[in-house]
């Protein structure tokens, strides 16, 4: 009961038009998802624009209920120069961890996995002519797809920037 009250106070502090947060910003949006009434809270629109990461080196940025997906700097370095992006169709529904496409580099096709369940709303058509954007601007113009977020609680299970940085360090040991 007390939790619900505390959360309502938090959500009241968020105005609909929050300025863009830098990727490294730690937003306490995680609290908004931890609740026994997820329905009520998801409607107060989480305005988190901090990146969340998967163990497969994909990132998600949420803006207005839509998630933008891309691959991390670590991932694009491990791939090499991307020459082709095989992306899904707009409207395709994806489950978390479902394969949604592939990137080709050095004659290797590497599969891409959806970080969340949802429906594809947009694909980055720039990548057809300019697949190298995935290497050059992996957090910006090299984004891959945008999708709806069917299960916001899935975001909870993803890593924030600090956790992802730690994760990468552990891989390099």
């Amino acid at each position: 009961m007390a939790m619900r009250v505390a959360l309502r106070r938090l959500s009241a502090n968020f105005s609909p038009r929050l300025p863009q947060l830098s990727p490294a910003a730690q937003v306490s949006s995680r609290l908004l998802w931890r609740s026994d009434s997820p329905r009520t809270l998801s409607s107060t629109s989480v305005l988190s624009t901090a990146l969340k990461f998967t163990e497969k080196h994909e990132w998600v940025r949420v803006e207005g209920g839509i998630g933008t997906i891309g691959i991390s700097k670590y991932a694009q370095e491990a791939l090499g120069d991307v020459v082709y992006c095989g992306l899904p169709e707009v409207g395709q529904r994806l489950e978390q961890l479902e394969e949604f496409g592939a990137l080709e580099s050095v004659k290797a096709a590497s599969e891409l996995y959806s970080p969340l369940a949802g429906e594809v709303t947009e694909i980055n058509t720039e990548l057809a002519e300019n697949p190298g954007l995935v290497n050059k601007a992996c957090y910006a113009e090299g984004w891959l797809i945008k999708m709806t977020i069917e299960k916001p609680e899935e975001l909870e299970g993803l890593m924030d920037q600090a956790a992802y940085d730690t994760f990468i360090k552990s891989l390099e040991e």
């Binding site: 791939l79 394969e99 050095v106 004659k107």
Partner: protein, 222 residues
């Protein structure tokens, strides 16, 4: 836990259709679900042209024309453009979990190239890598490479021309690279070098390069 090098099972498939080899690769890929189960599949294929995930350069009618030559044709999910496989070509499909090696596809492809360069060297052929993936002798490609990686498990692999009938390559732009040619160990050494002569060198080079242990299971039990 056994310290030290990963164990890779060598599986000699002999002459198998491309379709059958795809099926067997999937069996070995699936084995990795319950823990590392690295395998090195070795085979030859009856004449077949294969394409990769970039399908746009190869519409249906083009592939039909290739079928008229008497070859099989297959679209695949590997990287790389069109290539040819046929008798006299050593085809090797390493089905590895990169978690036991290094989780970088770029590293893996580079190691495959170095492995084949070593094979060529052992046979007296000076080969090299280049910005274009594959193994080259001057401007001619002696070994094509094209792989797929899902959840760190690799499939597809490399194809080293031993005494392949090179005229099959005349009908396509191999790997989409205009202005370069293809060659084979036999062409370079001016003597007949068959797949069976190259296999032991490939296994030695692979074991050294990937720092692994090879077990020889013989034929496929799948």
């Amino acid at each position: 836990m056994q310290g030290g090098r990963p164990v890779v099972e060598v599986v000699r498939l002999g002459l198998v259709s491309y379709r059958e080899a795809l099926r067997l690769q999937q069996v070995y890929v699936d084995r990795h679900r319950s823990g590392p189960a690295h395998a090195l599949l070795l085979c030859q294929h009856p004449a077949v042209y294969t394409t990769g995930i970039r399908q746009q350069p190869y519409p249906g009618p083009l592939l039909d024309r290739l079928r008229l030559l008497g070859a099989d044709v297959h679209r695949t999910n590997r990287g790389g453009l069109i290539t040819f496989h046929g008798p006299g070509q050593l085809v090797c499909y390493p089905v590895l979990h990169l978690g036991s090696f290094k989780k970088s596809v770029r590293w893996y492809v580079s190691e495959l190239e170095e492995t084949v360069i070593s094979v060529c060297s052992r046979l007296g052929v000076e080969a090299s890598s280049s910005p274009l993936t594959g193994v080259w002798v001057a401007d001619n490609k002696i070994c094509a490479i094209g792989i797929h990686c899902g959840r760190y498990v690799t499939s597809h692999g490399l194809a080293l021309n031993c005494n392949t009938d090179m005229s099959w390559f005349d009908h396509v732009v191999p790997c989409g690279i205009v202005g370069k040619g293809v060659t084979s160990l036999s062409a370079e050494l001016q003597r007949d070098v068959g797949v069976e002569e190259a296999v032991p060198h490939l296994l030695d080079a692979f074991r050294d390069r990937f720092n692994c242990r090879l077990t020889d299971g013989g034929g496929s039990s799948a």
